[in-house]
Amino acid sequence: MKKVFGRPKGLTEVPFSFCPGCTHGIIMRLIGEVLEELDIIEDTIGVSPVGCAGFSQDFFTCDFVGGPHGRAQAIGTGIKRALPDKIVFTYQGDGDIAGIGTQHAIHTAARGEKITSIMVNNAIYGMTGGQMAPTTLAGMKTSTSPHGRDLVINGHPIDLPKTIATLDGAVYVASVSADSPKNIIQAKKAIKKAFQVQQAGLGFAFVSVLSTCPTNWGLSPQDSLQWLRDNMMPVYKLGELKVAEEVKNL
């Protein structure tokens, strides 16, 4: 019988350990497919952070480095500066890259570091059990904002891709979502382009992927997807936020 669907070569045989309905697995699969399609598995070094995204080190077939919370891009910078001909990517959650690691997010982009960063935004700290993240929406209930995020006390959520797009060194910035087949196809295109930008040595490429966390949102997988559409999409606008001239010619 002809095999019509299987694991991409970019993923190992290790089964995903995510909660039911979590979209991390979809996003990792997209990256695994891109690594295979661009034929860069053997040239790529991934960097994993702390949190649910930290498990990524086991799921990809390329070399991986795991580091402290928020520091993946600094580590990625060190790897890329040592091995400029290799492909380096970071796979980070929103709390990791937009909270404890913000300084690296800003400066990696400003330097035009020739790496690719993927941010998985589920508006919450997942692994620690659903605390407020820098991306938690106004009024959203979490275990550390039990009455809903109060903008007076906690301030406003950060739209990181929008911020990164303002920096000259970032040449490709996209905000995508893993909620529907149509958006997943868009997400894959953006992720692929973000790796192609690096292959061409054009500068820093950043893709934010809206993601669900049914366990900590307290919703079913189905309802989580709808909640993402109704609540996150109006705040975190989808689309290619920045495509520099040199990237358009890719």
Binding site: T12, I41, E42, D43, T44, I45, V47, S48, G54, Q57, D58, F60, T61, C62, D63, F64, V65, G66, G67, P68, R71, A74, I75, G76, T77, G78, I79, K80, R81, A82, L83, K86, Q103, H104, I106, H107
Partner: protein
């Protein structure tokens, strides 16, 4: 090929790093260490390397982490408050067993402190510094030639043991100019690099990380590191003895104060006091072996330190409290004088009357 030059201590470290084959330097400016990044910014690119001024100390140490994962020789340098910021990353480097060379040009503390020389980071340097149970190999030079020689050696030691090595100097050594012989580095020994990440071409993927998913794995890791530290403790204790063999009394002091203490020993000998010096060169592993011949022999020990008394604890352990151990210290960037140290030695051991 060997050349005698006059350089600032910090510049000597930079030149030695280039000679040692350091290809990447990640740092952030802080007095009194800044000449290291300045010197390397000027000279490392000519040697095919790169200096990257990071967004902060945290960025710098994690860039070192990434570069070291590829087997590339890498260094960072800072001074006390900056070293505090690096501690998280240093703990991760120790856990991932990465050969990173670190330099701390110790200034005063706590807090912002001042720019003068200090040894107040002894505990931070030798007892771990960051979270978890780990050790750095810590070398303490006392003059420019040692800054050069120990920087060269630090890279080899780091690779040999797959462990971060810290060169602990101070604001005095860093800023002082004195002649130094720029010796050519002997070839480094071959080391195993079958652990590095450089793309899984024709081999299985590798992961460099330190996360222990189970307590069983966690304990196995701790035991592995412990065995390595024990090995280092056995093989890498270094110290210098100066008029120690027949001494009734010993000064124990490292770095800048170790150097000053040599003059104190000579002055004491002129007065008929049989004073000697043990100058620890490796602060971790602490040279316990140096004290074996003396702990049942000498009448007393004075440690001379630029802190409230940190190394004294290791000295007391090394002599198993068989010898009275006193502390003479200056702090806040002040240095002791030769006369001040000798007067203290005479006072604590009632030696003034023995004077001839």
């Amino acid at each position: 090929m060997s050349k005698r030059v006059l350089l600032k201590g910090n510049e000597v470290i930079g030149q030695a790093a280039i000679e040692a084959g350091c290809k990447l330097f990640f740092g952030y400016p802080i007095t009194p260490s800044t000449e290291i990044i300045e010197y390397l910014s000027k000279h490392l690119p000519k040697a095919g390397g790169t200096v990257l001024q990071a967004e902060d100390e945290i960025g710098a140490i994690n860039m070192c982490y990434g570069a070291a994962c590829t087997g590339t020789r890498v260094m960072t340098a800072s001074s006390s408050p900056g070293m505090s910021l690096k501690q998280e990353g240093i703990s991760y480097c120790a856990a991932a067993e990465l050969p990173v060379v670190l330099v701390n040009v110790n200034r005063t503390g706590p807090g912002l402190g001042g720019l003068g020389p200090a040894q107040s980071d002894y505990f931070q340097s030798t007892k771990g510094g960051g979270h978890g149970d780990y050790r750095l190999i810590v070398l303490a030079p006392s003059k420019s030639q040692e800054l050069y020689d120990m920087t060269l050696e630090a890279f080899d030691l780091a690779e040999k043991y797959r462990n971060p090595v810290l060169l602990l100097t101070d604001g005095f050594l860093g800023q002082m100019m004195e002649p130094v012989e720029l010796k050519e580095k002997p070839p480094s020994p071959e080391v195993d690099k079958s652990w590095i990440v450089d793309g899984a071409k024709g081999r299985k993927k590798r992961i460099v990380a330190s996360y222990s998913l189970t307590n069983e794995i966690g304990e196995a890791n701790n035991l592995r590191w412990e065995a390595k530290y024990k090995d280092i403790k056995e093989k890498e204790q270094r110290w210098e003895e100066f008029y120690a063999e027949d001494a009734d009394y010993l000064i124990v002091s490292y770095g800048t104060t170790g150097r000053i203490s040599k003059s104190v020993v000579l002055n004491a000998r002129k007065k008929g006091i049989k004073l000697g010096l043990i100058r620890p060169i490796s602060l971790w592993p602490f040279p316990e072996k140096a004290f074996i011949p003396y702990k049942d022999k000498v009448k007393g020990i004075v440690t001379v330190e630029l802190n409230t008394g940190q190394m004294i604890e290791d000295v007391k352990l090394a002599v198993e409290c068989k010898v009275p151990v006193h502390l003479y210290r200056r702090q806040g960037g002040m240095l002791p004088t030769e006369d001040g140290i000798l007067a203290n030695v005479e006072k604590v051991f009632n030696l003034a009357s023995e004077e001839v």
